[in-house]
Amino acid sequence: MLNCLKINLKRNKKGFLFFFSIFFSLSLLPLFGQESIFDIQTDGNSLKFSLYLANCSPKEVFERLDQGMRSEIYFSVYLYRKAKGLRKFFSDKLISEWEYSQEAQWDIFSKQYVITDYKGEVKKFSQKEEFISQFFSIKDVPLPLSIESADNYYAAGRTRLRTIKFLPPLNILGSFSTSHLITTEWEYADIPEQRGMVRE
């Protein structure tokens, strides 16, 4: 009986170490993997946000662009109202959400990287570094917010990179396949105070 217990303990210890190492590695993944850098700023009258996809290797993006395919990146921003009183036991309330996307492709004729941004504007780049820096980021995008108090709100942002943008009829695969999708964790940012807002 005692032996059995020892064996079980040994087994449990091994099992524990095995699972611990997996969980530990998984928990460290975000530290070394891709992440979003999310920032909200004010110029006094309005709010602007910037979102970057960081620590993400562009290798697959370039591979896919070279194969003649497109890549697409989505920048999502969620605005939450903080729960107060008894509601603290529940989650904060999602007030608004915005999603911006831009698409990249390689123009074989002009031999340039082309980005079609969320406004539909087309930008062309000859340099890989410049192109990827533009593609992985969205800068100073106005947030159409009308909130009365900065303290009661906060925002979350994340980036999703689809290394292959599926075209019709293959876009049906986009709903099923996640193998070409890189999604970062949510990053949180406080809403800075701006004119007309109350700081509690």
Binding site: M69, L170, I172, G174, F176
Partner: protein, 589 residues
């Protein structure tokens, strides 16, 4: 007359099935169409409602089918009528549904496979890549030619002549390079000196151009792609800028874009062919599977509809076999099953007629028996009367003085026997000449309570329950006669109980066919009726009691029949007897 509402396949049931089927099919078609449109238009899966629906609908259908299977298993275990036939029907229907859907599924999957394989044929890939290659070569060639011409040393000498003879210079340049479509020369102040060739290549404002030598950015104007190169030359001490250009064929950019897009789709299809095929099959299955489930569910409902008249027929046959000839099955359709039902109804009617004739014959026989018994019963006291009278006469004729010794017992005996005869004849008269009932609306509750109250005090060890009588039940009846019915039945019950027990009287509303009846039940905890006597209980002069006349239950039956009612009983020897009386319900007003 009792009737069972039976339709071979009820119209409402059939309509409901058709409506449910059409609704679900429409729902499936609308959603599948919406998704296909989304896919074709390149929209992301906007209709997220599809996902819960795609999961929810099959789950709902599977749940409903499982519920029906559970009900079927329960009915089979209970031995409910028609379940085995129903199981066979459902299996048959499900088999037919599978028989049609499996080949259809195989064909569809095969079609998807064949189509995708033919779409993704490597030949098309090669053709597309070849097309791109040609377009790219053409594009590069035009650009390179322009670049080379701009860098050519012989160009300057040709351009110097352009001020004097612009047309000739342009022709000479074109002779050097036929791809040049236009020539435009500006002076150092940016003023145009000459323009030759295709008008589309003309620059309206040279001052904005910052490039002094080399290629200008590509311009697309009215679906035409224009390449320009600037070359500077000096003549008579002034610097001139010559813009040479070539125009790609109209729509080249658009067609090239279409070609690259098509190649992009093709490359994606080529790479994800297997996954795409699986997704297509899943997509097909997500719509065809609920339809198959729906077909199975409908097989349950249809089998219910088909089986119902058969169950009713079985039920009716069982009731007829138990002796209830009043049952009829209603049918409105004109199919084979209806013919069977009509034949059944006709057969039962014939049986009932024969039974009535038999009863009539039995009645004649019974009356003969009654006459014989009456004769016997009357004859029985006649002998002691005659003997007593003879005895008195004999004593009187013998002249003996003690006539009183014989007279008193003999006269007493004669009086007793005459009294018995009188009672016998009074009851017989009552039975034979029951007056016509004087119908009026009566409350069953009041009639029962009135009859029971008489016995409550006289039979203290017997509990008479009358709580379960709906006070809202009324009948059209002769209250005195119905009171006699209740009195006779309660008396019978009390005699069967023999001192201690319970009598429960209840009344309920029952519906038989289109008619409402009041069903009165009088239940006792007495000795019960022996099986061998159960057929004779209502026969006149049948009694198992020592002092009984055998007319009580005959009178009861007669009264109930006169009121268009029905009476029967259920009895278990040693446990008790329940008499059931069905009387047509009347409205209070």
């Amino acid at each position: 007359m009792k009737s069972l509402q039976t339709q071979t396949t009820s119209v409402t049931g059939l309509i409901s099935i058709i409506i449910i089927y059409i609704f679900l099919i429409a729902l499936i078609l609308v959603f599948s169409n919406q998704i296909l449109q989304d896919v074709a238009m390149g929209r992301p899966m906007a209709n997220l409602i599809f996902i819960p629906l795609a999961v929810g609908l099959p789950v709902f259908l599977i749940g409903t089918i499982l519920f029906n299977i559970f009900r079927l298993v329960r009915d089979t275990r209970r031995g409910a009528p028609g379940t085995r036939f129903k199981v066979r029907l459902i299996l048959f229907f499900a088999f037919i549904a599978l028989l049609s859907s499996i080949p259809q599924g195989i064909l569809s999957i095969s079609f998807i496979n064949t189509t995708t394989e033919s779409w993704f044929s490597p030949k098309y890939g090669e053709a597309l890549r070849g097309g791109i290659h040609i377009a790219l070569a053409y594009y590069d060639d035009r650009l390179e030619t322009l670049e080379n011409l701009q860098a050519s040393t012989s160009l300057s000498s040709l351009l110097r002549e352009a001020e004097k003879q612009p047309e000739r210079s342009f022709q000479e340049i074109k002779a050097m390079n036929s791809t040049i479509d236009f020539l435009q020369i500006f002076n150092s102040r940016g003023e145009e000196l000459t323009f030759q060739g295709e008008i589309d290549g003309r620059i309206s404002n040279f001052k904005d151009i910052t490039v002094t030598e080399g290629l200008l950015p590509k311009e697309t104007k009215q679906e035409k792609t224009i390449f320009r190169a600037v070359s500077q030359y000096t003549a008579k001490g002034e610097t001139y800028s010559a813009v040479l250009g070539t125009i790609l064929p109209e729509g080249f950019d658009k067609e090239a874009q279409n070609l690259t897009n098509t190649l992009e789709i093709f490359s994606q299809l080529e790479e994800f062919q297997r996954v795409f095929r699986i997704v297509l099959i899943l997509f097909y299955a997500s719509f065809s599977f609920p339809i198959l489930l729906l077909a199975i569910l409908i097989s349950f409902m249809l089998s219910d509809e088909i089986i119902r008249p058969i169950i009713n027929l079985e039920d009716a046959t069982r009731k007829v076999s138990e002796g209830d000839y009043s049952i009829r099955i209603l049918t409105r359709t004109k199919d084979e099953l209806s013919n069977l039902i009509r034949s059944f109804n006709h057969m039962v009617a014939e049986l009932e007629r024969s039974r009535r004739q038999l009863i009539q014959t039995e009645k004649v026989t019974t009356w003969q028996e009654i006459a014989q018994r009456m004769a016997h019963e009357i004859k029985n006291p006649l002998t002691p009367i005659k003997l007593s009278a003879q005895r008195i006469l004999k004593r009187y004729e013998s002249g003996k003085t003690n006539l009183g010794d014989v007279l008193v017992p003999s006269a007493t005996s004669i009086i007793g026997e005459v009294e018995r005869l009188n009672n016998l004849l009074t009851e017989f008269r009552d039975f034979a000449r029951l007056p016509e009932p004087k119908m009026e609306v009566c409350s069953i509750s009041e009639l029962v309570l009135s009859a029971a109250s008489v016995f409550r005090f006289s039979s203290q060890n017997v509990l008479i329950h009358t709580e379960n009588i709906d006070p809202g039940l009324f009948i059209l009846a002769d209250s005195d006669q119905i009171n006699q019915v209740f009195t006779n039945l309660i008396t019978n019950g009390l005699e069967a109980i023999n001192g201690k027990g319970e009598i429960s009287i209840r009344a309920d509303l029952v519906t038989k066919g289109n008619l409402d009846y009041c069903r009165i039940q009088i239940q006792d905890t007495g000795s019960g009726i022996q099986k061998e006597n159960s057929n004779k209980v209502f026969n006149p002069y049948f009694t198992t009691k020592e002092k009984g006349t055998g007319l009580g239950l005959s009178i009861v039956e007669r009264i109930i029949l006169d009121h268009n009612g029905q009476i029967w009983f259920e009895s278990q020897p040693g446990i008790g007897t329940t008499f059931f009386i069905d009387l047509p319900k009347a409205d209070r007003d």
